[in-house]
């Protein structure tokens, strides 16, 4: 509850900061201070200190998994603010409002990581989505940004409609919005309502995490949105929706009396294949990262496939590793003058620190050992192997991971082995040190993943 209330308040605070000052460094300082406060408040709750005593009537349940995920999301946002806050302010004239919207999104993130009723799932997803539509279109003079925002808004609203239809059917079947099986009343003959409602919910959530075949909006929206906001969208938001997805299906799977494994397996296979194979043919690094985020979603979907303690550990590691690495890559990408692969040519010579850290981020995304990306993929696949079925899916995932190495290494190859100027905008030394910090975290958690996972249990 700390995080939900505090993030909403911080959103309002940033709105008012925008009224009283237009000084960019003040706004930045308030935003960074705010996220730091939010992070500390959430860690306090993880340690059992609640600032507000509110009876939620079982509508919000704060589990270790949800709180730990909040901590990761807020920590990643802190790094994101430190790395890219300057670029957020440069998108348009309403700098403080963009930060306010980001804080509202974080409020939605902390709702979906702890919801216990479908009503709050819906509200949380909407609180995440609506500010995102705005942020996508925030570059008002750019036609591509406008197009992306409209596309995202129309398709997003459509998927929201599908989600509502699913919620209605599930309410009709069980007489309650709660996802807790003990509170639900089984009505004879209405199981099919429950199953079809859950299927509609599955479709709309798969849309939000851009799993194939509901991924068509992703490349255009990620490509059209201002790059700073793409970075936020592709990492923290996506991981949050995955946590919601896992929470929803943890209870509802077994409760629906229907074997979901085949449907999930087909969606995973399609997502992995489409994401990885299309990513190979991209010429722009930004668009390649959009497809790579689809491919990574395929791996995260394994948490739904095998709902076990191993997969819960996996999704935590995955959201951490994926968020850190992608935020890092995007932070570097924003500084590049040319977003194509050629733009990275010879970066190792002009900006050795940027090139080295980007290489580490990409290695982590590809899942090379010694980085956190390796353990994230390992936990996901291990949990799938332990279910003992659908071995072909695991093999397919490994092949796809091998394919992904190709397009990630293309960037590394361009940076280290090709001649070119590798032009960037001016880079401050603080930015370099921050990149080194992020890369260091990736390697640290890659060697000691238990440093994070221990918090799930103690």
């Amino acid at each position: 509850m700390n995080a939900i209330i505090l993030s909403a308040i911080l959103g309002v605070v940033l709105m008012f900061t925008g009224i009283f000052t237009t000084n960019k460094s003040t706004i930045r300082a308030v935003a960074v201070g705010g996220i730091l406060l939010l992070l500390l408040a959430n860690i306090a709750e993880l340690r059992g200190v609640e600032f507000f005593d509110i009876n939620t009537r079982g509508m919000l349940v704060f589990t270790k998994l949800g709180l730990l995920f909040n901590t990761i999301a807020f920590g990643a946002t802190l790094l994101y603010f430190l790395l890219s806050a300057r670029d957020v302010l440069e998108v348009g004239d309403n700098g403080a409002d963009y930060f306010a919207l980001i804080f509202f999104i974080l409020c939605g993130v902390s709702i979906v990581s702890s919801f216990n009723t479908l009503l709050l799932l819906f509200l949380g997803i909407e609180i995440i989505s609506i500010p995102l539509y705005i942020l996508t279109g925030s570059d008002k003079r750019n036609l591509k940004s406008n197009e992306a925002a409209l596309k995202y808004f129309l398709m997003g609203s459509f998927s929201t409609g599908i989600m509502l239809m699913g919620i209605v059917l599930m309410y009709g079947a069980r007489g309650t919005f709660s996802i807790d099986p003990t509170l639900q009343i089984a009505n004879a003959g209405r199981d099919v309502w429950y199953t079809s409602g859950l299927l509609l919910l599955f479709i709309s959530m798969a849309f939000k995490v851009s799993a194939a075949p509901f991924h068509f909006w992703t490349p255009d929206v990620y490509d059209g949105a201002p790059t700073v906001f793409t970075s936020f969208m592709a990492t923290i938001v996506k991981a949050a929706v995955f946590i919601a997805f896992c929470r929803l299906f943890e209870f509802s799977y077994s409760n629906s009396g229907y074997d979901w494994k085949l449907i999930v397996a087909v969606v995973i296979a399609a997502t992995l294949l489409i994401g990885n194979i299309t990513a190979i043919f991209q010429q722009s690094v930004k668009r390649m990262l959009a497809y790579s985020s689809i491919a990574q979603a395929g791996f995260m979907l394994f948490a739904l496939f095998s709902t076990s303690s191993l997969s819960r550990e996996g999704i935590i590691l995955y959201s951490l590793g994926y968020s850190l690495a992608t935020i890092g890559v995007f932070a570097v990408l924003i500084k590049m003058k040319d977003y194509t692969f050629e733009g990275f040519n010879g970066l190792a010579r002009t900006q050795p620190v940027l090139a080295a850290t980007t290489a580490i981020f990409l290695l982590s995304l590809a899942g090379i050992p010694m980085t956190i990306g390796f353990f994230a993929k390992y936990f996901m696949l291990a949990s799938a192997v332990k279910t003992g079925t659908y071995l072909w899916l695991v093999i397919l995932a490994i092949i796809c991971a091998a394919i992904s190495v190709y397009y990630y290494f293309r960037v590394i190859q361009a940076m280290y082995f090709k001649e070119g100027a590798g032009e960037t905008v001016a880079i401050s030394s603080v930015f370099r040190w921050l990149l080194i910090l992020v890369a260091g975290l990736i390697i640290l958690f890659g060697i000691f993943p238990n440093m994070i996972l221990n918090y799930l249990y103690f």
């Binding site: 909403a8 509508m59 309403n94 963009y98 509200l123 609506i130 079809s196």
Partner: protein, 165 residues
Amino acid sequence: MNITEILFWLLTAVALGGALLVVTSKNPVYSVLALIATFFALSGHYILLNAQFLAVVNLIVYAGAIMVLFLFVIMLMNLNTETEPQKNKWLKLAGTIAGGCFLLVLVAALRDADSKSTMALIGEGDTGLIQNLGKALFNEYVIPFEISSVLFLSAMVGAVVLGKK
């Protein structure tokens, strides 16, 4: 046949006729007007079921706000039969199959629904009254109610961000 039944059949006829007109009429403006008539008839049904709040909200939100928006969009786009785009016949076929599948699913789901055993409360029952709704909203559902304020606030901030020069 008492007055309630006569009203029921009348409203049903208007609702179904309006819904049919929505899909059959060639002129999109007529479609929208027919849709408004359908919404009015549905609101009448809600009143018959003693759900006054739902009836009023249905009128204000759907027949009022959303349909006006619809009309504006259609008039701005200046749609008429001459500018109607030629639709691909495969697209039509795909649409028919998808719609047919959806109908099949709906029929399968509703076939053994127990709608016959529970009669609707007509002219009595107080579930739909504003008093009860308010009580439920501020007791049982107070958390979602308060949280939705964040949603509206973020939508307002967004509107300002997009609307400001």
